[in-house]
Each structure stands twice: as structure tokens, then as C-alpha cells.
Symmetry: C2
Subunit: 315 residues, 2 copies
């Protein structure tokens, strides 16, 4: 998948020649998003029963930022890993993320009609198919990693399987969503509870994305610890920014129902710290995250730029 | 987990001394079910947020026959594998099976109030938690296999991970449930469609149970082919018997709403072949399944007895 003329090699060359000042994050993200979209496009082939494959593809190909896959690819590359090592896990991360969106949008959960600017899965295919499309994506994610990853020792791949499971189960996404649902309509939510929700609902999978990329490339324990701290910080910053955007952005900009948290009286960071206070907290987290990567010098430029990108969304 | 005094060793000794005529299937199943229940009991420790762990445990510990785990243990043992090799996968199979029951029972799917003689998960915990409990069990199943299996080369374990995913995704359980929902209320369902539903909705996970046990123990390709044929036959026989029981058994005997298929005008094998014709078909499948295992002589007695048990339920 990587050849002498591939865009990835060109990016590497330009990085080593020009350094941080000339790194073009927009082109980098666009290029990676395109590679991830191509891989996702190939990952699910529609066959009988077509309806379920269509439903899975409808949400999977609805055009997100592909942040989790891109973080996985970038971290793997930081430790000299290749796309055949990281792309199947990158795709699995997006399948898992998509599953969580489909299920969160269900009438029994957040009851959302729009997602990424399109009707939610159950509005198009019905609740029954939406539940099954989520189940199908979740199960397929594990199969996909186990079958399609190339050039990674089986022991390391099993660690990635375990981490993905941990990030989704009651120890991760599911646990975060449970407390999020419990807090709906409550006005006296503690900051610790808000942290729990987001570190599980958003942070766990973001951290798994970064950690998996490193493990696939065979990174050392000290590297994994450093990247875990980077990941924890940008995960939390990401959620703070999402909460700010829910207040400041329009529905068109968000691609989903705006002001929904306010309407549902959900506890958010801006409701605790105000919008400006939340922006400052997010920036402090990003600065700390970037400091963790200083040791990798120019090789870490993409991951540093992605960290900046998280807060840049609020401006 | 296996010692000189363990019940497993005693079973083996009595087998080699007494042979098929004295094999006590009831004791064998009871003993294995007890071992599986103990392992499942330990597999999920309740912690914050307690509600989701309670919900997962509620359905997981609701007292099924544990047929999938027992098939996995028995097949692993046929090829001289041990409990530390097979028990984590056996538990994962029951977690996956339980997930499929919780989601199938939801109002948006089969809308069932009772399962295994108890209120269904969503009747006790609400639809939102029931969806999440299913998601949590499915994700945890993969983590559990990857983390807790002992004595199995990582390459073989990855094959099991892949097969479990394949058995649940649109290629398995999920695909079968999609067509099952589509056929509800239809009167002219073809036998090919009915086969598709059951080979995917029931057969795929039963076959994965048997196949995984063999792979965990390092069985040869020729053994895997033989066991796949055994598995395909008992999977289909199992579903035919379930359809018969839906008509002939009382709600008390079934532990779930009886006559539900008839009421929903679901296509069933008895509606195609009659009850006696269905019994004969099931028996023929079981006879073929047992013939596949003749080559293993006395070692296959438990798997042969389990095959007989599938049809014995109708009498």
C-alpha cells in the first residue's frame, strides 16, 4: 500500500526537509481522510441481505472527520509503522465509533434525527435495523482487525483487540453513556461526574486509537505512557470543545441538532466554567499534550498539529 | 484449573473404562454447566456504574443451558485441550449469545416480555440500558478472550477472535435476524429463506462454538472440516426442535412466551413439514452429525451424546 511515489512518502520527505513551520495540517488531514475513506469504502461489500449492509455503510460513509483513524495512522507512523499495519485497526476504530453514534441516536437514548448533516440511521432504516447495524459494525470491527492486519506479531495484535474491547465495554463508551443518560435533566452534576462521562464516552476510544497505533508499530512501554498522557489530554480537550460548539455553532456548521445539550439540560463544561473558561482549560490541556511529544522532535509534528486542531475548532 | 481430583478427570476416567453405554449425559452437562456458571460469575465484577454491570449480569446469569460454552469445552477436550485454553472463549460465546437475546427481545425487534422464565432485560432496566448492556457484553467478549485465554498460541487465538466476529456480524447472527424480521407475518416463506435465517441466527454461533474449541486445542484442518459438518447439522436440528417446542411445549416448560411464532405468523419448519416430518428431519441431521465423529471413537462420546440431546428435547 506504500510505494516510493505514495503521498505518505512525500509527506515524510517534506516534513524532514521543511520542519514544523511549513507543515500543512489541512493537506495532511485531507490526505489521510481520503486514504481512510478509501479503505472504509472497500471494507464493507454489499451482499445479501443488502439492507443491513446498506444501513452499516450509510452511517460509516456519512463523512466524519475520521479523527480516530487518523490518530491511529499518525501514531503508528511516529514509530515507523506502515499503513498495512495500522489501516485495519484505523477502520475498526471508525466502525466502533459509528456504532456508538447509531445507538446513541436511537429514540430510547438521545433520540436524535440528524447526524453529520444527514438523517440518523433509525430515521432511514427503522429502529430494528439501526440496532442491528450497530451490532454488526461492532462485531465486524474485531473480525476486520484480526483478519486484515499485516506485518504485526499476533501477540501485539491481541493487545489491540483487548484494548478496543475495553474502550467500548462498560469500562469505556458504554459506561460513559450510562452516566450521561442518568445525568440528563439534572442541574447539580459535579465536575467529577462530567469528567467520568467524557473520559469514558469520548476519551476511551480516542486514547485507544493513539495507543493502538503505537502498539501496532511495536513502541516501547515508556513511549506508550507518554502517548497515553497525550491522548488523555486531547480526549478531554476535544469534549470541552464539543460542548462549546454545541452552544456557539449553528446546526449547519455542526451537521447535527445544535443547542441540544442546553435543551436537554445536560451538564456541560461551559455550564460549569463558562465559554471563555472552558476555552482556557482546553488550551491548557493541549499545551500539556504537545509538551509530552517534544522528545520526538520533528517526527511528532503531525500529532502536535492535530492537538492544535482540536482547540482551533472553537475559533 | 484442572487437578487430579477434578470432576473433569473423573469423567475422563469413567469414559475410558466404561464406554458409551454407561456415559451419563445428564451428569456431564450438569457438571459442565456448573463450571461455566462459575466462570461467568467471576467474569463480570460489579463496579461503578453499577446499573450497567447489574444489567449485563442479570441476563448473563439468567440460567440458560450453556450449550455453546459446553460445546466449546467438549470440542477442545476432544483434541486434548484444557479448560484454561477453552473457558474464556466459552464465556465469550455465552456473552455474545446473551447480547443477541437482549437485543432480539427489544420492543423494536421481537418485543418479548419474558426470557428464560424471567422478565426481559429492557422490562427490568429500560430500553436504553438494555441496548447498552448488549453492546457492553459484545465488546467485553472479545476483550475477555484476548486477555484471559491461557496456553494458546496468539495466531490461533486471533483466528478465534475473527470467527467470533464473523458469527455475530452481518455474515452471521445479525444477517439472520434481519431476514427473520423481514419474514414476520409472511405466509409464503421459502424453505431456502428459513434455512438462511436459522443457519445465520442460530447455526453461525453454534458452529463457531465447536470450531473455536477445536482451533484452541490446535486441531488439524481435516478435523476442523469434520467438526464443521457436525456443527452445521446439529445447528439446524436445534432450530427445527426449537420450532417444534414453540408449538408443543407450555410457557412454563419453555420459560418464554409459548406459541409466539404461530401468533406472529412466523415461518417455521413445522409449518412447512408438519410436526412429525420435522422430527424426522431433525433426527436424520443428528444421525449424520454423529457419523462424522465415529473416527474419534470413545473420545467423541460427549459430543455424540450432546447431538442426541438436541432431538431428545422434543419427546
Amino acid at each position: 500500500m506504500i510505494s516510493a511515489n505514495s503521498p505518505q512518502t512525500e509527506t515524510k520527505q517534506s516534513l524532514s526537509v521543511k520542519g514544523a513551520s511549513s507543515f500543512d495540517l489541512r493537506s495532511y488531514l485531507e490526505e489521510r481522510r481520503r486514504l481512510v475513506d478509501q479503505a472504509l469504502e472497500r471494507s464493507i461489500v454489499v451482499t445479501y441481505p443488502e439492507k443491513i449492509y446498506d444501513a452499516m455503510r450509510y452511517s460509516l460513509m456519512a463523512g466524519g472527520k475520521r479523527l480516530r483513524p487518523i490518530l491511529c495512522l499518525a501514531t503508528c507512523e511516529l514509530f515507523d509503522g506502515t499503513l498495512p499495519m495500522s489501516m485495519p485497526t484505523a477502520c475498526a476504530l471508525e466502525m466502533i465509533h459509528t456504532m456508538s453514534l447509531i445507538h446513541d441516536d436511537l429514540p430510547a437514548m438521545d433520540n436524535d434525527d440528524y447526524r453529520r448533516g444527514k438523517l440518523t440511521n433509525h430515521k432511514v432504516y427503522g429502529e430494528d435495523i439501526a440496532i442491528l447495524a450497530g451490532d454488526g459494525l461492532l462485531a465486524y470491527a474485531f473480525e476486520y482487525v484480526a483478519v486484515h492486519t499485516q506485518g504485526v506479531p499476533a501477540e501485539q495484535l491481541l493487545k489491540v483487540v483487548a484494548r478496543l474491547g475495553h474502550a467500548v465495554a462498560a469500562t469505556g463508551l458504554v459506561g460513559g453513556q450510562v452516566i450521561d443518560l442518568e445525568c440528563e435533566g439534572l442541574k447539580d452534576v459535579q465536575v467529577e461526574t462530567l469528567h467520568f462521562i467524557h473520559s469514558h464516552k469520548t476519551g476511551a476510544l480516542l486514547e485507544a486509537s493513539i495507543w493502538s497505533g503505537a502498539v501496532l508499530a511495536g513502541a516501547e512501554p515508556s513511549d506508550l505512557q507518554r502517548l497515553s498522557r497525550y491522548a488523555g489530554n486531547i480526549g478531554l480537550a476535544f469534549q470541552i470543545v464539543d460542548d462549546i460548539l454545541d452552544i456557539t455553532a449553528t446546526q449547519e456548521e455542526l451537521g447535527k441538532t445544535a443547542g441540544k445539550d442546553l435543551k436537554a439540560q445536560k451538564a456541560t463544561y461551559p455550564s460549569l466554567w463558562g465559554i471563555e473558561g472552558s476555552r482556557q482549560q482546553a488550551q491548557a490541556l493541549i499545551d500539556e499534550a504537545k509538551a509530552e511529544l517534544a522528545i520526538y522532535a520533528e517526527k511528532a509534528i503531525p500529532l502536535m498539529a492535530i492537538a492544535d486542531f482540536v482547540t482551533a475548532r472553537t475559533h
